[in-house]
């Protein structure tokens, strides 16, 4: 696949929480229509990196660019940047006081100032596409975890973001519910949505990602096409990580 133009560019990004260096010099370019999977142990910095891209965390050093424009400059309007990105959280983070439809509408109507009727048409379309037709008026807590996460994906995608950031979107789910959420992500991939996903599902990374990056102690120490990365990793750390996953029956 010939790379499109860069959508997200990460240059030498570092981030520490107190003394603890979580990101220790990350470089990564994600091109249009590309899906990049971030793999690595818990605490390797996958989630923090995604949160930094969405400006939910401040970075210490380096730059992050969105469509060629530096977004980590203190003078940048963070709200405007976030409007161009979609974020799906591990714990769904649906709004419990709003029904399914209103969860999807909030970003469109309040964040993007879209007229309600137009927003509602789009929200209903998306919910139907992710198999949630008829659940629009339900409260999130009446839904299964898999359904809740699909609502969260619809909510993040409703605003047609330039890139979707998916933070371990299946980690909180019962095993039998993982498939339906992965199907929704696959659906986005088929549409050519640019995405960066932190994941523990190696099978899924192999299927959806164009590229897999292995994070270890705050650095991307190895990256490549999923086939090679997951079958014949070069670095001993990557081999060890994948072997552990295999032993735990996750790969």
């Amino acid at each position: 696949m010939s790379p499109g133009k860069p959508v997200v560019e990460i240059r030498g990004v570092t981030k520490a929480f107190g003394e603890l260096g979580v990101l220790r010099g990350i470089d990564l370019v994600v091109h249009e229509h590309e899906a990049v999977a971030l793999i690595g142990a818990s605490g390797s910095g996958k989630s923090t990196l995604l949160r930094c891209i969405d400006l939910l965390e401040d970075i210490d050093d380096g730059d992050i660019l969105l469509d060629g424009e530096v977004i980590t400059d203190p003078s940048v309007d963070t709200v405007a940047v976030r409007r161009r990105l979609g974020f799906v959280f591990q714990a769904y983070n649906l709004f419990p006081h709003l029904n399914v439809l209103d969860n999807v509408l909030l970003g469109l109507v309040q964040g993007h100032g879209m007229p309600r009727s137009e927003a509602e048409t789009r929200a209903r379309e998306l919910l139907a596409r992710f198999g949630l037709e008829g659940r629009e008026r339900d409260n999130p807590d009446r839904l299964s975890g898999g359904q809740q996460q699909r609502v969260a994906i619809a909510r993040a995608f409703a605003t047609r973001p330039r890139a979707m950031l998916l933070d371990e979107v299946t980690s909180a789910l019962d095993p039998e519910l993982v498939g339906e959420v992965l199907q929704a992500v696959r659906d986005l991939k088929e549409e050519g949505v640019t995405m960066i996903l932190a994941t523990h599902e190696m099978g899924f990374a192999r299927e959806v990602a164009d590229r897999v990056c292995f994070l270890h102690e705050g650095r991307i120490i190895e990256e490549g096409p999923p086939e090679r990365m997951l079958r014949e990793p070069e670095r001993p750390e990557t081999q060890k990580f994948l072997r552990r996953l295999l032993e735990a029956g996750r790969a």
């Binding site: 974020f87 959280f89 309040q110 993040a156």
Partner: protein
């Protein structure tokens, strides 16, 4: 399969046995509760009714004639309590929310207001309500009526009506309490909710307004209702700055005229008529939340 039927029969018997045992247990429990209640109340009644002071108490607190004569006026006066309560309550809800939000926001430009909000809650929560009623009830009129040398009164726009001043004192005192209740509610909304709102492109203010405040308000319902009950009773405090016409004040006057304490019991009854339903409502509300 030959012994299937007898086994079934045995299973049925054991089920019946268990049900009977459960019934017996709950009957026994009910009987014990009833007996101990009767015994306890009996002992208390015996202690009270046989005490040497009882005839005096009976005549001065439980005089049916006096009750019949004074209760209608007391009940009528309670209307003022209700009106003061309602007005103050609305003010308290607004003050509480504004102060709580000021204490929660991070914008540096709002820091002076944040500091002010912190001082306000510390101060007004720390002073007894009755003292505040005195201080504001007598202090503000003194400010308003003080004359300059040329005879002008620069602060004469300040309210001097005791009922207004008393209401302000109550609102300030309870506003500080309710602000802390709201603040606890705001802090209890998970951080992920704010993240999700911001990630959707909402501003901090929009996130507060559409996501955090609505959830916080829902959570603090029961503790707020608790403070409402307390406020409802504390309207009686306005009597100390000469507010006339509340149920308590009316009962006080009747008591002083008739040399009989029965009117006070009439006033107590009026307060209970409001606070007990509130308390039951609160219980139901909390049970409902515990279930969900």
């Amino acid at each position: 399969m030959a012994d299937a039927a007898p086994l079934e029969g045995a299973a049925r018997d054991r089920r019946a046995e268990r049900a009977a045992a459960r019934r017996a247990r709950s009957l026994r429990g009910g009987a014990i509760a009833a007996t101990s209640t009767v015994v306890f109340l009996g002992v208390v009644a015996w202690l009270v009714f046989t005490s040497p002071g009882w005839p005096v108490v009976r005549d001065s607190f439980f005089d049916a004639e006096v009750f019949k004569e004074t209760f209608p006026d007391i009940a009528k006066s309670f209307w003022l309590d209700i009106r003061v309560f309602l007005v103050v309550e609305v003010a308290v809800l607004v003050i509480g929310l504004v102060v709580a939000l000021l204490r929660t926001v991070r914008a540096p430009a709002l820091f002076p207001l944040k500091l002010l909000a912190t001082i306000y809650t510390d101060l007004f929560r720390g002073i007894p309500t009755i003292l505040l009623v005195y201080l504001i009830g007598f202090g503000v009129p003194a400010l308003a009526l003080g004359e300059a040398e040329d005879g002008s009164r620069p602060l004469d726009w300040l309210p001097t009506e005791p009922v207004v001043l008393g209401g302000i004192a109550l609102a300030l005192s309870y506003g500080a309490y309710v602000a802390e209740v709201y603040r606890a509610g705001l802090n209890s909304v998970h951080r992920g909710q704010r993240d999700a709102a911001l990630a959707l492109g909402l501003t901090e203010t929009q996130a507060l307004r559409h996501v955090i405040v609505p959830q916080a308000v829902r959570r603090v319902g029961p503790p707020l209702l608790n403070d409402f009950i307390a406020l409802q009773k504390d309207v009686a405090l306005l009597a100390v700055i000469g507010v006339t016409g509340t149920a308590f004040r009316e009962a006080q006057i009747q008591t002083a005229t008739l040399f009989d304490y029965t009117p006070l019991l009439g006033a107590a009854l009026m307060y209970l008529l409001v606070t007990i339903p509130c308390a039951r409502l609160l219980d139901r509300w909390e049970r409902g939340r515990a279930r969900s």
